[in-house]
Amino acid sequence: MEINDALIDHIASLARLGFNGEEKEEIKKDFSRMIAFVDKLRELNVEGIEPLIYLNERKCFWREDVPGEELSRNDALKNSPSKDSDYFLVPKVLEK
């Protein structure tokens, strides 16, 4: 897999991160190393082997529809960097 500028830009925008020229070169190198490391797995023959997604598969681990503990509004808002007494505040999101 080729790690090029376009891919880095795409991933950066998905992660809401910005890299300047130097940083971009750095991250490109990091990414290439990581991909090469994981590419090692391609050497294995996995034909006929189902992917293992859930390490601990428990059948129907669901809950009844009964209300449980809730946070107070104060607690819910506590860790937010920006808030008023009722709401989380975020920079103006442009409508549409």
Binding site: D65, A76, F88
Partner: protein, 482 residues
């Protein structure tokens, strides 16, 4: 406009159905519309580190009930996936949804439009969670975020592109609302956003089988908007094609004030949701037995009730349509029919006097203190000639509601028992004819309209306690014999 007939619109709807559960899809904080902002939250909903989601069993049962009612195949092994995107009202940065294993596949919705039955196939119904709400217009400098709605259980229902007009889309969505209300899984309130819908619209030359470039229209939060947005979009696309322009596959928003759709100009790259399996939720494995037992509790669909009303109870389609419009009325009819076999009369009573009474008092049927048995008794009294229909509607019906006394007793208390003594009635009528010899003569010369005058006099003389039909008959006999 001229070219309109050469094109065929192709429309599919995606509906989001908010489930009437007590708690959220993956956590046990309450679901409650209109609660104070940020007061229905848990660390799971907020996506705090170290928290683990757990599936709401009730939401799964509701999905099974909807799916089985619509003839869908129920998926036995239900896996969940993360759909990643960045938005302030999505606290985790991803939505837990179903990607490759939607709980329902196939199935169809049938509805009636202009007397015709129309069938729309379904592609899938899957379980997911709602986002929070961003409020843009309360604060000039910030967007406010209320996360109460985050995590509310949703079913997303995707139709095949089987709809051909805005009117059909309206009727389809209307049927969906009736269905979810009948099944008791959603309140179907579009204004409050508990039922929402996006439309995929394209047009193609008539007779062609491929599809044109499709446009997705969002923000359709009323039935009228759905129809208007689709009709506008069809016209816009046809005009573009006629000009030789190209239709861009894009997302557009409906502007209700102007009645037009506007491009949302989302970048192509923003659509990369990077689905991957949700590692925190084990798959839900459903057995045939569980699916069967869950479906056994499901109420009947409105279309099934419609068929019963027309076939089993011989009601005209108009009556059946009106009654099934509202689940309460349909149920009230069915319950009354167990006490009284005059089915058409039950329907007439529900659709006219009862409905009028509800409208005048601004209440719903469930708030009316009238039982199906009481209505059946009133109808039986009318049908057996004990009381006239008019008196029953004007006096007996309100009296039953107010006093809760037996209708058979009330007709005596109200003194509205029909005069059935024929000889008494005959002498009353003879008296009237004797009083108006000139009118009788005029009638005989051909002024047949005078019959009404005689009937009115007779009703007055018997204080409304005689059967107008009997009076009519006796009068005609007398007038025609001499």
């Amino acid at each position: 406009m001229l070219k309109h007939t050469e094109y065929e619109p192709v429309i599919g709807l995606e509906c989001h159905i908010q489930l009437l559960t007590n708690t959220k899809m993956y956590s046990s904080d309450r679901v409650e519309y209109g609660a104070p902002p940020n007061s229905r939250l848990s660390p799971i909903t907020l996506g705090h580190p170290g928290t683990l989601p757990r599936i709401n069993k009730k939401a799964v049962e509701m999905a099974i009930i909807l799916g089985k009612s619509l003839g869908c195949t129920i998926t036995k092994r239900n896996e969940f996936a993360r759909k990643n995107y960045f938005y302030p009202d999505l606290p985790k940065g991803y939505q837990i949804t179903q990607d490759k294993t939607p709980i329902c596949t196939g199935g169809h919705v049938t509805f009636r439009l202009n007397g015709q039955e129309k069938k729309v196939n379904l592609i899938r119904i899957h379980m997911e969670e709602d986002s929070g709400k961003s409020i843009h217009d309360l604060d000039p400098f910030n967007t406010l975020v209320d996360l109460n709605r985050a995590g509310t259980p949703l079913l997303e229902m995707v139709s095949a592109p089987d709809l051909r007009s805005g009117e059909e889309a309206y009727a389809y969505l209307y049927e969906i609302r009736k269905i979810v209300r009948y099944l008791g899984i959603c309140d179907g309130n579009m204004e409050e956003g508990s039922l929402r819908c996006d439309a995929n619209i394209s047009v193609r030359r008539k007779g062609k089988s491929g599809f044109g470039k499709k446009v997705e229209v969002k923000n359709l939060n009323s039935f009228r908007h759905v129809q208007k947005a689709i009709d506008f979009e069809i016209q816009r696309q046809i005009e573009l094609l006629e000009k030789g322009a190209i239709i861009v596959s894009e997302t557009r928003a409906f502007d209700p004030a102007k009645g037009i759709t506007i491009s949302m100009r989302t970048k192509e790259t923003a659509q990369d949701y990077r689905y991957f399996p949700e590692p925190d939720l084990s798959p839900i494995i459903l057995t045939d037995d569980f699916i069967q037992k869950t479906f056994e509790q499901a109420p009947e669909l409105p279309s099934v009730v419609f068929k019963r009303l027309t076939q089993e109870f011989n009601l005209p389609e108009y009556d059946a349509t009106q009654l099934t419009e509202n689940k309460e009325f349909a149920l009230f009819f069915l319950q009354t029919s167990q006490h009284c076999k005059h089915y058409k009369s039950i329907s007439n009573w529900l659709l006219v006097p009862v409905k009028n009474y509800l409208n005048e008092n601004g209440i719903g049927l469930h708030e009316l203190s009238l039982t199906p048995l009481q209505l059946a008794e009133i109808i039986e009294l009318v049908e057996s000639g004990k009381v006239s229909h008019t008196q029953a509607v004007q006096k007996l019906f309100p009296a039953v509601i107010q006093t809760q006394k037996k209708p058979a007793m009330l007709i005596h208390e109200l003194d509205i028992v029909l005069q059935t003594n024929a000889s008494e009635l005959e002498s009353v009528i003879q008296d009237i004819l004797n009083r108006y010899p000139e009118k009788v003569a005029e009638y005989k010369k051909g002024k047949k309209g005078l019959l009404g005058l005689f009937v009115g006099e007779a009703m007055k003389a018997t204080k409304g306690k005689s059967d107008p039909k009997a009076i009519n008959q006796l009068l005609l006999e007398k007038l025609n014999q001499s």
